[in-house]
């Protein structure tokens, strides 16, 4: 019984954690999966957003999730600017995406320093009524508890991911976004300005950092360098899901979330990364383009 109880709770925790991972990765899934910009600074931008959330929460008592929504336009704008620069210096001259990686790594450093200078290096947390509390109860003799903190992250992430997924699948803009890295010239023949599409899509990708940052500071304490810890996770999730597939990203995030939670519960958390990344390797060995990747071996 206790095993079953642990199992069910681990499963729930895993799904919730997966939602959190999805929120961290979804923007990257757009920037990297669809637009080919290897934005390794993505987690660091999320940390920047988390600090903004902190400021709004600590100084004005704004609910962190609301704060995340408020700063999202800011990050959308930041994405707009960054892509414009990136385009100017890399894509226009058709430089390899790899150079972009070095560029974004530079941005990562710069962002971190800006964060250190403006916020210091100390850990920060936010507070809200739902943080540190959980709900649950007994069902058929099994007691389940669900922390609101992770639940809220999960719900927001699910809305975000599904919303983006629908938007990309169904809208004209979404189709253009999925097409843009395949043939920019052909896209312009469809009456679409590919650069504008990329700029907006990148801005959306970075815009998700706003809300993801809010979720991050709800879930974990932050400091300027904490983003680096998640670089491996977010890239693994995007690739495991398959480049260019938003639903793949969501599924991959769930898998890693559940794997981590299960391993933590039953085998000791220390092995969680090994298991998660072995899953990634295993999947790639059989499906070289990830779970939902579409025959695209970029």
């Amino acid at each position: 019984m206790i095993i079953l109880e642990l199992f069910i709770n681990a499963l729930i925790a895993g799904i919730l954690l997966g939602g959190f991972f999805a929120a961290l990765s979804i923007g990257l899934s757009i920037c990297f999966g669809l637009l080919d910009t290897v934005n390794i600074a993505h987690p660091t931008f999320i940390v920047a957003a988390a600090f903004c959330t902190f400021i709004l929460n600590a100084n004005f008592g704004i609910d962190p999730i609301l704060a995340g929504i408020i700063i999202t336009p800011l990050f959308f704008g930041l994405g707009w600017v960054i892509y414009s620069l990136y385009y100017q210096f890399f894509e226009k001259t058709s430089a390899e995406a790899l150079r972009g990686l070095a560029f974004f790594f530079g941005l990562l450093f710069i962002t971190e320093v800006v964060l250190i200078i403006s916020f210091g290096v100390d850990h920060r947390l936010v507070n809200a009524a739902y943080i540190g509390k959980s709900f649950g109860g007994e069902f058929a003799g099994i007691s389940v508890s669900v922390p609101f903190r992770l639940l809220s992250a999960f719900v927001v992430a699910a809305i975000l991911t599904l919303g983006l997924q629908m938007f990309l699948d169904r809208s004209f803009f979404g189709r253009a976004t999925r097409a843009v890295h395949q043939d920019m010239m052909a896209l312009s023949l469809m009456g679409v300005d590919p650069v504008a599409i990329k700029r907006i899509a990148f801005a959306i990708g970075l815009g998700t950092c706003g809300i993801a940052g809010a979720l991050m500071i709800i879930v974990i304490p932050i400091e300027p360098a904490v983003g680096r810890l998640f670089i491996g996770n977010v890239f693994a999730i995007v690739v495991l899901g398959g480049l260019g597939s938003i639903s793949g990203t969501l599924i991959a995030a769930m898998i890693l979330g559940i794997a981590e939670s299960m391993v933590s519960t039953f085998f000791g958390p220390s092995w969680a990364p090994a298991v998660s990344f072995t899953i990634l390797l295993g999947v790639l060995a059989f499906r070289p383009t990830g779970l939902l990747g579409v025959g695209d071996t970029r």
Binding site: A10, F20, S118, V121, D122, R124, P147, P221, P269
Partner: protein, 397 residues
Amino acid sequence: PVAQAQSKDPIKIGFSMALTGALAGGGKQSLVAMQIWAEDINEQGGILGRSVELVFYDDQTNPKNVPGIYSKLLDVDKVDFVVSGYGTNLIAPAMPVVIDRDIVFMGLFGMNNNGKWNYEKYFQILPAGPSPAVGFSSNWFEAVKTFKPKTIALVAADAEFARNLKEGAVENAKAMGLEIVYNENYPPRTADFTPIVRAVNAKKPDIFYIASYPNGSAGLVRAIAEVGTDAMAVGGGMVGLQYAGLMSGLGPNLNGFLNYDFYVPEPTMNIYPGSKELIDRYQKKVKDEGLKTDALGYYLVPWAYAYVDILGKAVNAVGKIDHDAIAEYIHKTKFTTVVGDVEFGDNGEWTQSRTIAVQYQGIKNNELDQFSQPGTRKIMFPADIQTGEVKPFNSLR
């Protein structure tokens, strides 16, 4: 009137410090304390009548950068003394460089760095006693004895300091005859700690020892708030709960945790003469100058002040820059500093542990000010400075 330090050739003290990266929180705090010390000593006439100048570089919390920095300090900057940066793995890479020059080396919060080297000119300020890993948690285990525990669960972060603490805790637990029902480590990138807490709860331990880094400390505090636990004592080696940011962030969720500390604003802490004034100055300085560092500074400020202070005192006592003589002097002297009386044993560690066990009590909200008043972190052990009674974890929630 105090003699002003002469402006001729300052005495240079060099060190690396984590100003960025994972340990920067402690590093920055330490640096401010050391700068306060430099002001103080210069006001009092400096060392050997020469003013003191600090020369330091950011090691980015990356051990890789440390050997180069110390070599630069010694060979290019020609500093007169070096002291260590903050943390075990940033002290370790400096050891061979220093040993090669055969000079005095003061360490700031290193865990058993001298274990293998047995270097006679190394002195370390972390008050964990001659066998640091064990000494670090011995007082905590003393404090939990009131619960007459039989079983213990242990969790540690997969990182140098925490793993060492846990190993020491295991020894203490064994010495107490406790049965270890859970003993695991968690990786630094862990985001959700509820599965760990549930797994621990499933083993129904009487006490729950945690050796964690700030991320994990906060994560575990919240996970325990959410999932609950029946353990009577929880905590022990949680780094970060002493930080202003985390304390105010976690607020009432901290109630009941029984953790280590070095200095808390309790009245009995007056056994550390001058520490309260020092901390007040630190807090004022941070506020006045708008420094982006820990607002309270309880964790490291007195210690970072003390380790350079001891060096200064020793040099002045010896009267010349003679490392052999200075080391010998430090070995045989009992220093009175802002962290009380300090004596170093043969391996350069404190002769006895003065890590204190504190329990978080009566925290009502997230206001920072309450933590600078007595009462929120009561001392449970050592007995001579005890300010409260240990209560079972859940009775304080």
